[in-house]
Symmetry: C2
Subunit: 124 residues, 2 copies
DNA sequence: TCTTTCGTGTCATAAGTTCTGACATGAAAG
DNA sequence: CTTTCATGTCAGAACTTATGACACGAAAGA
């Protein structure tokens, strides 16, 4: 259970990749973070590292904005469906070996287990 | 068909992430590239961007070395089983929308369709 | 045993990437 | 008319990655 959440939450993507994947500007992505809509991990050098969960969330936010939804609403909406958002790969609590294990498992199930909303499932 | 290969080949990971995922040093990863064992894409700034395929390949190389196999052998071995190794996300030939589409599809099937060797499937 | 070749470590220098904070602005809300 | 929003853009600092070079223990060859 806790595993299933960890799988999608390995922080592996840098800002540039997320920008390309979501077609959002760095400014937008960081702003959504100030609005508590995403919580990327940070590497040792303080650089943001996004998880698949984060990318998904950003796409949801993008959709929400497009359909006139406001941040407060989205914030409330997300608060109920998710808890663990991202896990630092460099974390002392998770060995590389274990991290790989989780990443693989996650990729196996990335699709088909999320509610019919927006996000990776619909966009990707 | 060509799609299935593209899915695993989106170049989305920076060196630091690959290092963490494979537990290899940057030096090793670059050296294996000079040995033609991996062919990461490059972003506009000439930074390497690895795909899931690349990470997988690196883990195979790591295994191969551990079991005494030499690069020439691995090179020959890989030459027969793979062609398209990675696709630049920023490529003019692939829109972001499409890239997401492929990434998702790939993640759905990442496991369960590769020969019983080493690599992500076994390690992760 | 002496000499290469291998696979890596480590340094230095240059250049690309990302971070934070600040100023600016058109659009929407009051 | 005045705020508030969501973004753009800039600047300076700090982090990351790139390439090339020198070094070296271990393995392979002569």
């Amino acid at each position: 259970m806790a595993e299933k959440q960890l799988r999608r939450s390995l922080a592996i993507l840098p800002m540039s990749t997320v920008m390309a994947l979501t077609d959002l500007s760095a400014r937008q992505i960081r702003y959504y973070e100030t609005q508590a809509l995403v919580h990327p991990a940070r590497n040792e050098g303080n650089r943001r590292r996004y998880s698949l969960n984060d990318v998904d969330r950003l796409l949801e936010v993008k959709d929400g904005l497009a359909s006139g939804m406001d941040f407060a609403t989205m914030r409330r909406l997300y608060a109920k469906t998710h808890q663990v958002e991202s896990t630092q790969l460099e974390s002392k609590r998770l060995s590389d070996e274990r991290a790989r294990h989780l990443l693989e498992a996650e990729m196996q199930q990335l699709a088909g287990m999320r509610p019919p909303q927006s996000g990776l499932q619909q966009h990707l």
